[in-house]
């Protein structure tokens, strides 16, 4: 009996423990933003310069990608790796779409002279969305690897990994669920 037979519970527990460390990391970033913002005026003026439309599109993109990855997980549970590949591929595309929109948004802001050094609001804006975007990128890479494995058949050796990748991806989505109103709606 190898260590990894019946590995289904291991990976899930491990992924949740990892997420338990990510919650205070993003939590602290958001808390810092909230308390500093509540403590001073003038941030709303800066946040008016944000590109609301791009962020709204990104919100729809990310929420949809959460749906596609959980569909991929359901397909993997059924052993339908063709469907799994389809949904994983969609998730990767949506993730790339998010990053592309983000890049568009950043370039617009930079062109208008809003840099990380432009003040405390922009420090937080770039810090928060930058950290989030890095996490999105990491998730895309994981999802890409699993998509390739779904296509070449290797995913059948460890179908549960779609669920673990999904858990991470949903977490990244949940962070955005809070980032969006904090930055763009408040």
């Amino acid at each position: 009996m190898t260590i990894h037979s019946g590995a289904e519970p291991y990976g899930k527990t491990g992924t949740w423990w990892f997420l338990s460390s990510e919650i205070p990391t993003f939590g602290a970033v958001l808390v810092a933003y909230i308390v500093l913002r509540l403590g001073s005026a003038g941030w709303a003026e800066s946040s008016a310069h944000l590109n609301f439309n791009i962020a709204l599109i990104n919100t729809f993109i990310l929420l949809t990608s959460s749906m596609t990855i959980v569909m991929a997980h359901a397909a993997a549970q059924d052993g339908d790796y063709g469907k799994t590949a389809k949904f994983l591929g969609l998730t990767v595309l949506l993730g790339l779409g998010f990053l592309a929109m983000k890049a568009l948004e950043y370039s617009g802001e930079i062109a208008h002279g809003f840099l990380p050094s432009s003040g405390i609001f922009w420090s937080f804006y770039y810090g928060m969305t930058g950290l989030h975007a890095l996490h999105v990128l990491a998730g895309i890479i994981v999802n890409l690897i699993l998509w390739i494995q779904a296509l070449n058949g290797r995913l059948a050796n460890h179908p549960h990994r779609v669920e673990y990748a999904g858990l991470y991806w949903h977490f990244v989505d949940i962070v955005w669920i809070f980032l969006f109103p904090l930055l763009y709606l408040a």
Partner: protein, 557 residues
């Protein structure tokens, strides 16, 4: 890939990985001790040439003070207590063949090695190593013109980030392994306390390190991208860093403390030939202490300019947290009562830990009480306090663990006579260094200053400083006995049997050292780990996996 590389360098075996962490921690212990020597030399004989080194510039002194703290906390205490013993013991003591994620484990130690390389590099870049204190407060750490440094602090932040990543991955491994891979019959309440403590420490670490990662990110951005998180003239606040840092910084000291307590509980049970007194209360108390550790952080910030009304609630929680630890300490003392004591070296160090730690815990009450702290904050009283608590756990308990588990790890016994000499020299010189330091602190000497003689009010304590430095040099030299013992025993020590201490826990049922995959057949557990001196038993010990043919209360899974 040749076998040497596969079995020694790129191994996924938890026992090899533990030894890799041990080698790295021993290297950093040397660096930490070296920096301590230079710091003490400069304090006792300011602006003279240190023996074997030369003149210590003020900026170099600041780096030494910074790196001594950083190295000892993150590159000695964490790997030595958590990574070495957690990695080595968890699978063995729960009856598993390896960790849940062996390849992730290998990645963890390699990330730690990378972190070490980054930190070493930081010594050699223009501007030298980080020099803003191990606590790295901005604006000192945010602007190079204040420390005279270059990108030493950026490398310091990178090294810390990598170290955090390594231990986060390790924590995932430890916790998943313990939740999922315990042998049949190994219920939670039959786990050895050393494992419980490792797990609670891992949880505390996982849940507390996030804010400091956030803070470090902000600091890197302030330093390199012109952001203003900590710049008060641009909407930021230096106090933000302090909160982000200490929210982690305080739980971190319990991350270091708990494994040490677990080690001495384990060792004292064996050499007192008695069950652990109050096994379950110790576990619950440690969990409670773990929770409380998240609500005491601002006791590091009483005089930082934070809201003074926070001082009282944080003083209360800080005093409260001494209660669960007192329970643990009293339980250990209760174990010694009416026991069959023997004092080989591991036991000497274990009991020594107890004595030293109690003293450190008592001075913690002074520090934790805001009115008193107003006077002693940032003095050598604090330094004395945390060296009493940290050195007792990292070094006394860590040494106890080495002497105790060395036979299992390396298949040889360490020399007990040399070990006893090591203990007594360490114990005497340790107290000679840090005992008088309390007086230096109460006399008003501030932390981190390079030349106390420039202040008239510190002239009365300077003789103490000179004495402390001499004792510190002797303390460091005493460790030669340990190093010699390790290397001599590795090659010429008495070959160890499987269970030289006649202990009950599962690691002693394997050969010394255990083979790859640990157990020929996975054990089945029938009882708790501390069935020593049972009246109805012929021997004074009863292994966890010994099938006596009677039914057990817990279902065998």
């Amino acid at each position: 890939m040749s076998t040497f590389w596969r079995t020694r360098i790129f191994s996924t075996d938890h026992k090899v990985i533990a030894k890799q962490y041990l080698a790295l921690s021993l290297f950093w212990m040397l660096m930490g001790a070296g920096s301590a020597y230079l710091i003490r030399w400069q304090i006792a004989h300011p602006d003279t040439e240190a023996l074997g080194w030369g003149y210590i510039e003020p900026s170099v002194y600041n780096s030494l003070v910074t790196m001594h703290g950083t190295i000892m906390v993150f590159f000695v205490a964490m790997p030595f207590l958590l990574a070495v013993f957690g990695n080595f013991l968890i699978p063995l003591m729960i009856g598993a063949r390896d960790m849940a994620f062996p390849r992730l484990n290998m990645l963890s130690v390699w990330i730690f090695a990378l972190a070490s390389a980054v930190l070493v590099t930081s010594f050699f870049v223009p501007g030298g190593a980080a020099a803003a204190g191990w606590t790295g407060y901005p604006p000192l750490s945010a602007k190079n013109e204040y420390t005279g440094g270059g990108y030493g602090i950026d490398l310091w932040l990178l090294a810390l980030a990598l170290e955090f990543a390594s231990f986060l991955l390790g924590g995932v491994n430890f916790l998943t392994t313990a939740v999922n891979m315990r042998a049949p019959g190994m219920t939670w309440m039959r786990l050895p306390l050393v494992i419980w403590m490792q797990l609670i420490a891992a949880v505390i670490f996982m849940l507390s390190v996030g804010p400091t990662i956030a803070g470090a990110l902000f600091l890197l951005m302030d330093r390199n991208l012109g952001t203003t998180f900590y710049a008060p003239d641009a909407g930021g606040d230096p106090l933000l860093w302090q909160h982000l840092f200490w929210f982690f910084g305080h739980p971190e000291v319990y991350v270091i403390l708990l494994p040490g307590l677990g080690i001495i509980l384990e060792i004292i049970a064996v050499f007192a030939r008695k069950p652990v007194f109050a096994y379950r209360p110790i576990i619950y108390a440690s969990i409670v202490a773990g929770f409380l550790s998240f609500v005491v952080w601002a006791h590091h910030q009483y005089v930082s300019g934070m809201d003074p009304r926070l001082a009282m609630p944080f003083s209360i929680t800080t005093i409260l947290i001494s209660v669960p630890f007192a329970l643990v300490i009293f339980s250990i003392i209760a174990m010694l009562w009416r026991s069959s004591l023997s004092f080989p070296t591991p036991m000497l160090f274990a009991v020594g830990t107890l004595g030293v730690f109690i003293f450190g815990g008592l001075t913690g009450i002074f520090n934790g009480s805001a009115p008193v702290d107003i006077y002693i904050h940032d003095t050598y009283f604090v330094v004395a306090h945390f060296h009493y608590t940290l050195i007792s756990n990292v070094f006394f308990a860590g040494f106890a663990a080495i002497y105790y588990w060395f036979p299992k790890m390396f298949g040889r016994m360490m020399n007990d006579t040399l070990g006893k000499i090591h203990f007594w020299l360490t114990f005497i010189f340790f107290n000679a260094v840090f005992g008088p330091m309390h007086l230096v602190g109460i006399g008003g000497m501030m932390r981190r200053i390079a030349d106390p003689t420039q202040y008239d009010f510190l002239k009365p304590v300077q003789p103490l400083n000179i004495f402390i430095t001499l004792m510190a040099i002797l303390l460091i030299l005493s460790q030669v006995t340990f190093v010699v013992n390790i290397f001599w025993s590795l090659f010429a020590g008495k070959v160890a049997a499987a269970n030289p201490w006649q202990a009950n826990t599962l690691e002693w049922t394997t050969p010394s050292p255990p083979p790859h995959e640990n157990f020929a057949t996975l054990p089945v557990v029938y009882r708790g780990p501390y069935e020593y001196s049972l009246p109805e038993s012929k021997e004074d010990w009863l292994p966890q996996d010994l099938d006596l043919g009677r039914s057990s209360r817990a279902a065998v899974r």
